[in-house]
């Protein structure tokens, strides 16, 4: 269990949200309940921490689907599980397209929900880890000098030291020195590791 294992549950029906929260808590995960989406939006810290959002589709005010669209722009990366009294195909399609993890019809098999919640937390955790990793790589990249960055680009492009030296108008020796510095700054054990870190960063952007 980590500090990120928080699940936010939004349902206008008190008994539903209470039961869902209590079920989720059997997983040893913290669950917070909200009566409507607006309340959740206002609880920004929880939103940032949450590893999963369980949303009712049909609610007064902002509906679950609308909430999904808004969260996208807020870069909340907790996966969403929709629970709904009834699911029309267009509604389900819209939800899944928006990146929902699942769409459960009420009443649902609680085990299914719990499985999905665990899955969501795992995804969420992975996303967080990647984000941390990316942040580390970025921070390390930030320590490189402009010249080192140029040499790094050459390395990533798979060029030989000789070619890089020629392109930059410097000596082979200098290139080798930059390379050693880069490996050190980027905490890379091998050339392959270095290339993987940097390319993963570029893919995620």
């Amino acid at each position: 269990m980590t500090e990120h294992d928080l699940v936010c549950v939004v349902d206008d029906d008190e008994m539903v949200r209470m039961s869902v929260c209590m079920l989720i808590e059997t997983l040893g995960v913290q669950a917070r309940s909200y009566a409507n989406c607006l309340q959740l939006m206002e609880d920004e810290s929880s939103l940032k921490l949450a590893g999963c959002l369980v949303l009712d589709v049909r609610m007064p005010g902002i509906s679950g689907l609308e909430m999904q669209e808004r969260l996208e722009s807020l870069r909340v990366d907790a996966p969403i599980i929709f629970i709904s009294g009834h699911g029309d195909v267009p509604m389900v399609v819209r939800a899944m397209r928006g990146g929902a993890l699942d769409f459960l019809q009420k009443p649902f098999d609680e085990q299914l929900l719990l499985d999905r919640v665990e899955q969501a937390i795992a995804i969420s955790a992975k996303r967080r880890r990647e984000r941390v990793k990316r942040a580390t790589v970025e921070a390390r990249l930030a320590t490189l000098t402009p010249r080192e960055k140029q040499v790094l680009e050459g390395i990533i492009a798979g060029r030989q030291n000789k070619v890089i030296a020629e392109n930059l108008g410097i000596s082979m020796k200098t290139v080798e020195q930059h390379r050693a510095r880069i490996m050190e700054k980027m905490h890379a054990a091998s050339l392959a590791e270095l290339v993987r870190h940097v390319t993963e960063l570029g893919r995620n952007e």
Partner: protein, 754 residues
């Protein structure tokens, strides 16, 4: 007769050359000898025959010399009557029978002339054998007797007059008629009987004549009317006039009465303005009443004026057609309408009616009697009417209406071309011998007939019916029939109805379509309501079911393995039953929804205006005015049209109902506008009492209602619909008065619906 004159010659001449020669003069002697007539000279005293001519010799069968030896008496066959006439110097000697030498007898007609010579009285006798004549006389006498019998027995009065105009004879009928005894009547002057007016001179014109009725006089001085037919006869050199008298008093009286009656009729007819005529067909004589002449502008008697010479050339064939048809017996009465030329050369229209008065033995009409009526005026009016009818026809047909003209007396229905066209008939179809029944749809026949009957009975001011009629191709078409009585006949019964026919097939079909649509809409409304209700219920039920399921599952988890089996099993059953209940709700909902709602672009403004149209009646009944404030050129919303219609309808109905007890203005305002987040917002605002805090709290909960007879699903359903569209429905609390509900639905975005 000529022989008589011959004899008269010496009769006249004899006294002049008296006393010459022996017995006669020389000249006479020669005549005497040459005469064909037997002649004798007899001494009046001695009756001895002094001389005899040769003709006498031939007559008596002896030589004249022989005869001179005889006496005149010797010649007579009857000795008893020997001397007398000559002794008496009679010129005509009555009929005697003389003897010839052979003793044969003959009737002798003797004329004597007497003269004196030589102291002696002599007689010149001319003797004629009239055997042939006496035979004729006898025959005549027989015949006369016969005629006499006829004369006396004749039932009609006959008066015999002589040339002097005196009555010579009268038969018993005549004596009875004139009231005279026979003897007193004889010798009367004809004028005494026949009256002074009678043209007596006609009696003697010696040819058959007829004297029309004049006043005759009886002996007692009384008068009577009689006609006389005259014939003439010569009887023994006497001219006789036979007057057959016919008392016509009674006949005249009858005739007079007839004439009076005729006058009365004529007066009646002429009083009605009709001219009376009497036409002798054979002679083409034409009697006209003064009124008849007056109508045609003729003054006084106009001989030679015959109606058929005045017929307008164009009408001749028609008139004679009518006349022939009548004379053949095809029509019971001669009737015709035609123009006659007036005195001034112009033409006038006349209506003729006539009847045959007499026919000859072969049945050929001889005489016709009838009237002519001046119908120029009515004819002109008719023509004006026809012209105006034509104008109307033109106007009506220009409108696409067909026309019909129904003669109730003959049952004939005339249809205009347009009428036939509407039903697909050609102009040659439906001309004769059909009835409304033939055109009416079998299902409508009875109703149509009843309608006609009711209209003709005066129960309705106008005949108006929408009915189906048979087209030429056998199909039926909806038409609007309208009609009005144009003419009344005897007993004031309708005799003619004119009307129009309009093609309302399309209107009817549209009406039917509209009605079907409305029914479908109502049906759909019910289904939608049911669907939305199920949807709303599903949601509301699913929430507690979810809670039950979750809590039972939670219980199981919390109990863990240590829990008694019975408790765990119970909780498991609860959890399963919650799922089962959820499944039932879902199935019910899917059943009424029949699959998924398909979203398509929907114009909210269109939905609003359509629903206002349907709610119009409710609004009118509640005295509510609906005001629309719709934003132009709104993009289409993404949604299910019927659901959105249901939504808008519910809100409108709620609004109208909210103002049921509102004093003052009752207005429902519906606004549309582009909202935030690519949505369209629609607001329905009433001016009712508004909503209390308490009501607002449970506003969208199902089965919560402020209406005494409400179910409380209206707004719940509305919310379900809006949310199914991914939209929102809420209550706007900012109104000073009344309540406003607003919903927002998303507009169409690319890639939303696939």
């Amino acid at each position: 007769m000529s022989t008589r004159r011959h004899i008269a010659g010496p009769e006249d001449a004899a006294p002049q050359p008296r006393g010459r020669l022996h017995t006669l003069g020389i000249q006479l002697e020669q005549t005497f000898l040459a005469a064909a007539e037997a002649m004798l000279v007899v001494d009046c005293e001695s009756l001895s025959i002094l001389d005899a001519n040769p003709a006498a010799g031939r007559l008596y069968g002896q030589a004249p010399e022989q005869l001179q030896k005889l006496g005149y008496g010797d010649l007579s066959a009857d000795s008893a009557q020997r001397n007398d006439p000559i002794g008496e110097r009679r010129e005509r000697i009555p009929l005697r029978f003389h003897r010839r030498s052979d003793e044969s007898r003959f009737p002798a007609e003797i004329v004597a002339r007497y003269f004196h010579r030589d102291g002696r009285d002599l007689a010149l006798l001319s003797i004629r054998d009239i055997t042939g004549r006496t035979q004729q006389e006898r025959a005549r006498l027989d015949s006369e007797l016969k005629y006499r019998a006829v004369f006396d027995a004749a039932p009609y009065p006959i008066v015999l007059l002589n040339a002097a105009g005196r009555v010579v004879d009268a038969n018993p009928s005549a004596t009875v008629l004139y009231g005279y005894p026979r003897e007193e009547m004889l010798g009367l002057n004809a004028a005494r009987l026949f009256g002074d007016e009678s043209p007596i001179e006609d009696l003697f014109s010696a040819r058959p004549a007829f004297i029309p009725a004049t006043t005759h006089r009886r002996q007692d001085g009384s008068h009577f009317l009689a006609e006389i037919t005259l014939s003439f006869t010569n009887q023994r050199d006497n001219l006789l006039v036979l007057a057959v008298v016919r008392d016509v008093t009674d006949e005249r009286r009858t005739l007079e009465r007839l004439r009076e009656a005729e006058e009365r009729w004529r007066f009646a007819l002429e009083g009605a303005g009709d001219g009376v005529w009497d036409w002798n067909i054979a002679s083409n004589e034409f009697y006209q009443s003064p009124r008849w002449r007056e109508m045609l502008g003729y003054d006084g008697e106009s001989p030679g004026l015959v109606w058929n010479k005045l017929i307008h050339p164009d009408d001749k064939q028609y008139v004679y057609g009518n006349l022939d048809a009548y004379q053949r017996g095809d029509t019971p009465l001669y009737q015709s309408e035609f123009r006659l030329r007036c005195a001034d050369g112009t033409y006038k229209w006349f209506a003729a009616r006539g009847k045959i008065l007499s026919r000859d033995a072969s049945g050929k009409p001889l005489r016709m009697l009838g009237t002519h009526r001046d119908i120029t005026h009515s004819r002109r009016m008719m023509e004006d009417l026809r012209a105006s009818e034509q104008r109307w026809q033109f106007a009506l047909e220009g409108h696409g209406d067909g026309l019909w003209d129904w003669d109730l007396l003959s049952g004939r229905i005339m249809l205009s071309r347009q009428f036939k066209q509407i039903l697909g008939y050609g102009s040659d179809d439906l001309t004769e011998g059909f009835d409304w029944d033939d055109l009416a749809h079998p299902d409508e026949r009875r109703r149509t007939r009843e309608l006609f009957d009711r209209y003709l009975a005066g129960e309705m001011p106008l005949l108006a019916a929408e009915t189906r009629m048979r087209c030429r191709d056998g199909s039926h078409k909806w038409v609007a029939l309208r009609g009005k009585i144009m003419e009344y006949g005897s007993l004031n019964r309708p005799s003619r109805v004119i009307g129009t026919l309009r093609d309302i097939q399309e209107t009817k079909q549209r009406e039917e379509r509209d009605r079907n649509e409305q029914e479908q809409l109502a049906h759909a409304g019910r289904l939608i309501t049911l669907g939305e209700m199920a949807s709303a219920l599903a949601h509301e039920l699913n929430q507690p079911l979810t809670a039950i399921r979750n809590f039972s599952a939670l219980g199981l988890r919390r109990l863990g393995d240590s829990a008694p089996e019975q408790v765990k099993a119970t909780l498991e059953i609860i959890a399963e039953q919650a799922m089962r209940a959820g499944e039932i709700v879902r199935r019910a909902r899917n059943f009424v929804r029949k699959g998924e709602v398909s979203f398509a672009p929907v114009q909210i403004n269109q939905v609003v205006t359509d629903m206002c149209r349907f709610a119009e009646l409710d609004a009118l009944a509640a005295g509510v005015q609906i005001a629309l404030e719709l934003q132009d050129e709104l993009p289409p919303a993404s949604g299910d049209r019927s659901s959105l219609e249901q939504l808008v309808m519910n809100l409108i109905k709620n609004g109208i109902e909210a103002m049921e007890s509102t004093e003052g203005e009752r207005r429902l305002t519906i606004r549309t506008a582009l909202g935030g987040n690519d949505s369209i917002e629609c607001e329905v605002a009433d001016l009712g009492e508004g909503l209390s805090e308490k009501v607002r709290a449970g506003l969208f909960e199902p089965f919560v209602t402020t209406k005494p007879d409400g179910v409380g699903l209206g707004l719940a359903i509305c919310r379900t619909i809006v949310e199914n569209h991914g939209g929102r429905l809420w209550f706007e609390p900012t109104r000073r008065r009344g309540a406003a509900f607003r919903f927002a639905v998303p507009i169409v975005r690319k890639g939303r619906h696939d």
